[in-house]
């Protein structure tokens, strides 16, 4: 009946992951890098849920639950680090924290 | 030397530290206030009670015989701090018998209510008790001209007030009896 296949979701998941990856590589603002990381995790989540739904197995969904937990933790710690960094260097740009370079 | 005494406050009890009983008390207070009477007035319909010695708009009054009391001595004009009063003096027409001995009357009397500060000096200084600050307090107009009270308006606002002295009547009577002073 439906023409959307699990593969559609897979491609979408990969696109999300790719876009997030692009952000991580391309952006200099660490806040945006963190956000892009979240997007990558989201891509993985989509893939896992669609796998879980296709194979009628709950394990994938449960994994998504754990990924979300980890993501939330990661954001909290990441942002705390960022704030600490900002206090020291007055910048959130990645090129400003290259300590070894100069 | 005043001695500083440091008062030791009693530590709060557990129920006080939750603040809940206090909040409940506060709620009771506000709730009971809902059923108390209203203290406000529905202003344009209901007017507040104006006390006797209220200093409202300065007005000119007539004596109980309906005669103009002002003799245009211009004392009020001189005393007025914001220079709101302007008087054009004029003579009392000969034809008015009941105002014998009164030599002058204002030809024009203007009080600029845009300048008036309601200080009441004019009332205080008037030797004829012709100018009174009465209980009217709400004055409005659409233009600056409307806010300048002319003589007619001032008499209209003032009306008549009881007179204790009848100064000019006494003078006339005295003269009629042959007593100049």
């Amino acid at each position: 009946m439906e023409s959307v296949t699990p593969q559609h979701f897979l491609v979408l998941a990969f696109l999300l992951f790719g876009v997030g990856f692009l952000g991580v590589v391309l952006r200099r603002n660490l806040l945006l890098v963190l956000m892009s990381l979240e997007l990558m995790l989201n891509g993985v989540n989509v893939a896992l849920v669609s796998f879980s739904r296709t194979s009628l197995n709950l394990d994938g969904s449960l994994f998504v639950f754990f990924i979300m937990t980890v993501a939330a933790t990661e954001v909290a710690v990441g942002l705390a680090l960022l704030v600490a960094l900002f206090k020291k260097r007055q910048s959130v740009f990645s090129e400003d924290i290259s300590l070894l370079k100069n | 030397m005043a001695k500083t005494v440091v008062l030791q406050r009693k530590p709060l009890s557990l129920s006080e530290r939750t603040y809940l009983p206090q909040i409940v008390t506060g709620l009771k207070t506000t709730f009971s206030n809902m059923f108390k009477g209203k203290v406000t007035l529905q202003y344009p319909e209901e007017k507040p009670n104006i006390p006797k010695n209220y200093r409202g708009i300065p007005t000119l009054v007539k004596d109980p015989n309906g005669r103009e009391k002002c003799v245009s001595c211009q004392l009020c004009e001189f005393v007025c701090p914001p220079k709101a009063i302007r008087i054009t003096p004029g003579a009392v027409p000969e034809s008015e018998d009941d105002r014998e001995h009164v030599e002058k009357a204002p030809q024009e009397f203007e009080i600029n209510m845009l300048r008036c500060i309601y200080c009441g000096y004019c009332q205080e200084v008037c030797p004829e008790e012709a100018i009174y600050l009465q209980d009217e307090y709400s004055l409005s107009g659409y233009s600056r001209d409307e806010m300048i009270n002319k003589k007619e308006k001032l008499y209209e606002l003032g009306g008549t007030l009881p007179d204790q002295h009848y100064k000019w009547d006494k003078k006339k009577n005295a003269e009629d009896e042959g007593n100049d002073h």
Binding site: M1, V4, G18, R28, L39, V49, L58, V64, A72, A80 | -
Partner: protein, 184 residues
């Protein structure tokens, strides 16, 4: 093209488009807004996959908490738009990642069998209310989810809890004002 398809394409476009706009937007606040759009559409995709609990969790955790935190930090630090040029190294790596993502997507499209009608029959969910044993069956019920978490995945759950605790302690330590006697 039926309703589900339409919804899928709509939300897929929204999520990927939002993500892309997030990556290229100059101001962090705009980026956060696009990110929220992307996250909420991913939640909508979860609804299409009939895992309602995860969809709501997605909105609750990501849009409700994580992105508010991001916005809070953006405002707190008053991060302005990104000025200056992207460095050459960044450009090169960006191009490279674009290329690799593109190639991988093409490969995926080639070999994953999209449009294969035989793959498109989604099996119906059996509404098994009582679950036992280790074989967790996918269902929309919250009970199954909880059962899975507290039986098969008990250890990971505990570890996740511990992780949260550790993160909390870490964040508090990081953001605490350093007292002089501690520094010395």
């Amino acid at each position: 093209m039926n309703t589900v398809d339409l919804l899928f394409y709509f939300f897929a476009t929204l999520s990927v488009g939002g993500g892309l706009l997030m990556v290229i937007s100059r101001h962090p606040v705009s980026a956060a807004m696009f990110m929220i759009i992307s996250l909420v559409s991913v939640a909508a995709l979860f609804v299409l996959l009939e895992s309602f609990f995860l969809a709501i969790l997605q909105v609750l955790v990501y849009a409700g908490a994580v992105m508010v935190l991001f916005l809070f930090i953006i405002m707190l630090l008053d991060v302005g738009p990104e000025g200056g040029k992207v460095s050459r190294v960044k450009m090169l790596s960006g191009l490279a990642s674009c290329l690799s993502v593109g190639i991988l997507v093409i490969l995926l499209l080639q070999f994953s069998g999209i449009g294969d009608a035989s793959l498109s029959n989604w099996k119906a969910i059996q509404s098994t209310e009582s679950v036992t044993g280790d074989s967790l069956v996918f269902s929309t019920s919250l009970k199954n989810f909880g059962y899975g978490l507290f039986t098969k995945y008990m250890l990971p759950l505990q570890v996740a809890g511990f992780l949260l605790l550790a993160a909390m302690v870490g964040v508090i330590v990081l953001s605490k004002k350093s007292t002089p006697d501690l520094d010395a």
